[in-house]
């Protein structure tokens, strides 16, 4: 995993800080376009709040639609950060180096975006403050003798998501300290002062580096169990619901976690390809890295497909009338069955067929397409779990209904994608999306070994 040419420290600084020190011309234009889409989405949310839920396609019994689908989707994307950063760090995988920071930051922004969805979905978002505060700075509504019901997954969920969000932000910030010092040394004026404060007087002595390395490993080990818990608990929002038969499944937690890793790692691969293209980081995000991600994705996708098949098999195996009604809707009634085929094809068969070929894994255009397919598929997966389950929630057929999202919902959903893109671009203007010191460490550990008549690139690894 050392296919690139050797790089020195100055070159690494110059090339990786290009997004901060020499902002490209298109930057403000891109931010303006994305910002406009976000504003339109915010206006739509405002319109919905003003007019009520009647302007959405939500109606009994389908009261969870696009918003909750999108919530689960973005939580899923957030699982890439820890998956790549923690697991690859713990296993000392060399190819993690350019991918970790972007993955961790994507985690933070996708979690933040995910949490806007249930707030919008409440229809009266300002009232959610009563869930936590009754008076300024006084937690919980104890003034009226009401306490949160900790027996419900709807309380477990925010507790897990906010634990994950707080941990991820702190994880990113600690790993950024040495890079803030590099920026402190390369900026002047106000930027210099701000980066100086963020670097906290970092000098890069042996003690600080030792603690920084321990931090990476220790925090990875601590965040991993949180990462597994988050999507498990999100799945329990559904799995614990006895009243919706097709949701009430014990396989949901691992199924959701593996699905989240599948969509998240695909999203990271896509983001890396975009970063390579827009900032010219060919020396850092190399074909070998995308290739490695694709090979990892074959395993993750296959694991996910196994859980998907099991979930369907268990659904049919019980032969309960309301469960069969949901499966009937998903697999035999148009357009749901068409969506189902598109979802399975895009999530598994199409991308895995691509990833099995080395030349296609290393073709960045094809890889981008495969990653987009996976994420369209995974979005559809959540939609096809949530909506058909609710549409066939009732036993009697006259209570069955369907769901058609309104333009307001479409705009808000599109807005969340623009929001994450805008936040990623903005943060690229402020912090390096590839960790400088990690790349430099890779360079000092780089070597070549001669085996017979061939010399192969290699890397030293510390115990």
């Amino acid at each position: 995993m050392q296919e690139g040419k050797p790089l020195d420290s100055r070159q690494v600084n110059r090339e990786l800080l290009v997004s901060i020190l020499n902002s490209p011309k298109w930057f403000f234009g891109a931010i303006a376009v994305l910002g406009f889409i976000v504003l339109v989405a915010m206006s739509s949310a405002g319109f919905m709040i003003n007019q009520g839920f009647g302007v959405t396609g939500l109606n009994r019994p389908v009261m969870w639609g696009f918003f909750i689908t999108n919530f689960v989707f973005w939580i899923g994307i957030s699982h890439a950060g820890v998956m790549l950063s923690a697991i690859l760090r713990l296993s000392k995988a060399e190819w993690r180096r350019p991918a970790t920071r972007a993955a961790e930051i994507l985690t933070v922004f996708s979690l933040m975006t995910a949490m806007t969805m249930p707030l919008i979905h409440t229809g009266r978002p300002w009232r959610t403050v009563y869930w936590i505060y009754t008076l300024p700075f006084v937690p919980y509504d104890y003034a009226r003798g009401i306490w949160p019901n900790i027996r419900t997954p709807l309380v477990w969920d925010p507790s897990a998501v906010y634990t994950y969000l707080t941990s991820s932000i702190l994880f990113v910030l600690v790993a950024l300290i040495p890079d803030f010092a590099v920026l402190r040394d390369r900026t002047t004026g106000m930027s210099h002062r701000i980066y100086g404060m963020l670097a906290m007087g970092w000098q890069g002595n042996a003690r600080q580096w030792k603690l920084q390395i321990i931090a990476g490993v220790l925090l990875s080990a601590l965040i991993l169990p949180v990462f597994v818990s988050v999507h498990s608990i999100v799945s329990w929002d559904f799995g614990m619901a006895v009243s919706v038969k097709s949701w009430h499944s014990t396989i949901f937690a691992p199924y959701f976690v593996v699905g989240a890793v599948h969509s998240g790692v695909s999203a990271v691969a896509f983001v890396l390809i975009i970063l390579r293209y827009i900032y010219g980081w060919q020396n850092y995000i190399r074909h070998e890295h995308i290739d490695a991600l694709a090979r990892l994705l074959i395993v993750v996708a296959t694991g996910w497909f196994y859980f998907f098949v099991m979930e369907v098999v268990f659904g049919f195996y019980g032969r309960e009338a309301d469960e069969i009604a949901v499966r009937n809707l998903q697999f035999t009634i148009s357009p749901w069955n068409i969506w189902m085929m598109i979802f399975v094809g895009m999530t598994y068969f199409l991308p895995v067929s691509i990833w099995l070929s080395k030349s296609l894994r290393r073709n960045l255009w094809v890889m981008s397409l495969a990653c987009i397919f996976v994420n369209i598929g995974m979005w559809l997966e959540r939609f096809l779990i949530i909506v058909p389950g609710l549409a066939r929630k009732q036993l009697l057929t006259f209570d069955w209904y369907t769901y058609r999202p309104s333009s307001v919902e479409w705009i808000i959903i599109i807005g969340t994608f623009a929001l994450v893109s805008m936040l990623m671009l903005t943060i690229a203007r402020v912090v390096p999306l590839i960790p400088l010191y990690d790349i430099k460490e890779g360079e000092i550990l780089r070597t070549e070994i001669k085996i017979g008549r061939v010399t192969v690139p290699a890397v030293f690894r510390e115990d």
Partner: protein, 174 residues
């Protein structure tokens, strides 16, 4: 006599390690010199002393606090607003486990971060002698010596291969 810092800048790890050896041979205590780099080198690359730390205590203390808070929050919440469901006990462990688990992990992680910053001796409000070339790949050997030994230390660092030696009093020599 008051001590003053002096910083030698080296292009290679070998030269910096040579400087460390020379300082040790000259009787400079290992506590009085340090190696500044822009990337983590393998431990012991410069022959530096081992840095003792207590970082592993922090997550345990944090986890214990989080566990206690989690148990108190979940049990007291249920007792404060008792919801009897199907004759099941008010204090039921499975639902308590989730929130307790999250609070345990959250506090463990927050304490770990505090520990890392504290053990790294950060924030360092007053930055000592430093040179921005360190973040360009040069290796800095920062030495604290008696003021009257600045000249000899400078000569020692230069002899070991320093491309520049920086002093607080402005004395700098290639």
């Amino acid at each position: 006599m008051a001590k003053a810092p002096i910083l030698g800048l080296f292009e290679t790890a070998d030269h910096a390690a040579d400087a460390g050896d020379a300082l040790k041979a000259a009787g400079v205590s290992q506590a009085d010199y340090d190696f500044l780099t822009d990337t983590p080198y393998p431990e012991g690359a410069f022959g530096e002393r081992e840095e003792p730390h207590r970082i592993y205590i922090f997550p345990f203390v944090g986890a214990l606090i989080g566990l206690t808070v989690g148990i108190m929050l979940t049990s007291m919440t249920q007792l404060a607003y008792p919801l009897t469901q199907g004759g099941k006990p008010i204090l039921s462990l499975p639902p308590m486990a989730v929130v307790t688990y999250e609070s345990t992990m959250l506090t463990a992680i927050v304490f770990t971060i505090i520990g890392i910053i504290f053990e790294s001796r950060l924030p360092a409000f007053k930055q000592g002698l430093y040179d921005t070339r360190i973040t360009e790949g040069y290796i800095g050997v920062l030495v604290n010596v008696d003021e009257d030994q600045l000249g000899s230390t400078q000569a020692l660092l230069t002899q070991a291969g320093a491309i520049d030696v920086v002093r607080n009093d402005g004395g700098s020599a290639a």
